[in-house]
């Protein structure tokens, strides 16, 4: 069992923490030191995390490679596999295959602004990139984050947002505020309209795909090039290596060519936008 897809890493839960009522952050360590040393990834890449008996789910690593041999993922309890992941406690065993997919950060964005736009739990796949910038500020010129959720309760990584605002410009917005909410109210796209963005910025967007076309339009109006606007797509996935066919979008595979795609690449794709 050595080739890419069947190379299985055995892992163990270190810590579980709640992110919002439906989402948990799981921290893992490798069961064997040797496997821990062999594993590498780039911020933005995903793994196929599995619990024996319940199957696998495609999840982006939310920590940076510097934190290896430990890493975290954020899991929303939706299906069979993710519900099983929610039942895991410290010391429980799991496994994963990967890492798969591409990443924005693999091309350094020297001098340019990196604008991250997240909706709901779409912040999770971007957290690794945020922490990579936190650890090495030279990889971007400037970092900005616009993050929105339906309610303040649904925001994830709430405890970290304050620390992030020390090295990044953070704009928070919710559709429906509660009494304590002091941030913006409205959609992510509304907040984006009011935000100043450099013309040569690179934007990475992750959230419900329904918001993607509107965001692309706003960013293009702000002068961003189509190849500098990137969207993360989510599809049903089984193999991670371009075989099982579940994640195809026209000519593209989300597992091989994605999960991050430039607007230039997918704007004319007949099934990239749901």
């Amino acid at each position: 069992m050595t080739s890419a897809n069947n190379n299985i890493y055995q892992i163990e839960v270190v810590k579980v923490s709640g992110l919002n009522p439906l989402t948990k952050s799981l921290r893992f360590k490798f069961a064997s030191v040797k496997q821990g040393k062999a594993f590498a990834f780039i911020p933005g890449q995903f793994i196929m995390l599995g619990v024996l008996g319940y199957g696998e789910a495609a999840l982006t690593i939310t920590t940076t490679p510097e934190e290896l041999p430990e890493f975290e993922v954020a899991v929303r309890s939706i299906g069979n596999a993710t519900k099983a992941m929610h039942r895991l406690k410290a010391g429980d065993k799991a496994y994963f295959r990967g890492a798969f997919g591409n990443s924005t950060i693999s091309r350094k964005i020297f001098g340019q602004e990196l604008l991250l736009i997240a909706g709901g739990i779409g912040l999770a796949p971007l957290r690794s990139i945020i922490h990579a910038v936190r650890d090495d500020k030279t990889i971007v010129g400037k970092l900005a984050l616009i993050y929105g959720a339906k309610t303040p309760e649904e925001l994830i990584y709430k405890g970290e947002l304050g620390a992030w605002s020390k090295f990044a410009e953070v704009v928070l917005t919710v559709d429906k505020a509660d009494r304590e909410w002091t941030g913006k109210i409205g959609r992510v796209s509304d907040a984006l309209k009011k935000t100043k963005v450099d013309k040569d910025a690179v934007a990475v967007v992750c959230g419900p795909p329904v918001m993607y076309p509107a965001i692309a339009e706003i960013l293009i109006e702000k002068g961003l090039a189509e190849e500098n606007i990137e969207f993360m797509l989510e599809r049903r996935m089984k193999c991670g290596i371009g075989k099982c066919q579940h994640c195809t979008c026209g000519e593209k595979y989300v597992c091989l060519d994605g999960p991050t795609f430039t607007w230039k690449d997918i704007k004319d794709n007949w099934e990239a936008m749901l």
Partner: protein, 327 residues
Amino acid sequence: MSLSIHTKDLKRFLGEIIDGWPTYGPTEDKTAVNSRYKFAKLDKAKDYVLRYGPTVIPPKKYLFPAREDVFRFEKGEILPPTNREFIVFGVNKRDGEGLFCLDQIYAKPTPDSHYTERRANMHLVIVDSLPPSNNIDCDLYLQIADKDHLEAYTYSEFGEKLVRGNKLFGHQAEVGTISLRHMPDDVLYHPRLASIIEKSRNHSVWDKLTETCFACGVCSYVCPLCYCYEENDKVKITADVAGDMAGSRERRWDSCMLPDFAAVSFDNARSKVKDRIYNWYFHKFVRMPREFGFPGCVDCGRCIAFCPAKINYRDVLKELIADDKRK
């Protein structure tokens, strides 16, 4: 001068193979409903048929079975499957081409180790009246030269071993010339087929197909080049469920025609039958030629023969090509 075998000795040769390895090949069952031919385990050489019509399931099932365990697990341990050597005998050239394409698919861009390990254990003997060509990968090719002889071409050490020194094979004088079935396929290999289909998303043919297609997925199951799959964990129900669960990761054939194929938690990328039909054609005639250099079709006719709605993919392609010409 190459080696050849008498047609009447073929079953004796097959008998030798059956004695040495688990052997699979085309058999005949005259009472069967959908097709009287099928690939099955050959226990005796007499079960084998030299010429077969389309079997419902192509020989891909020996490399990519309808259901198989990718691994088993017990007490938290992952146990890889064990593979053993076997022979597939008597596959015709077209089915051989299908297997060759499947080899390319599972090797590119990242090899699927589960497939490649099984493939390494499979030996293939092709029997056909057409001469061999470079779009097949077998150990031994037996070309039906005339009614009395089959000419042997070996392509591996294993194939060489089967034939060299075997008394059933001898040097024959000139065999009769073979008339080649030459079929210029201006549909499947139409030079602009990919771009025609790519631009046809709003063509009425897809609406028409939606009215007849049951979206049952049979065309995928019977296709030698359909290779998509689903994977799920299968758990054994035992008294000790709470502690150490035992079971396996099962890989099974899927079909892009089925409703949930592209469903995710928040949406379904292809909830409409029309989109699923279009994707089937797009995959076979646009994505696959661009990804692998060949279309997802060897023109074996199985999807036409076994479609309950009597849909003929060639008619669909012909209509699209004809409409493109008219423009």
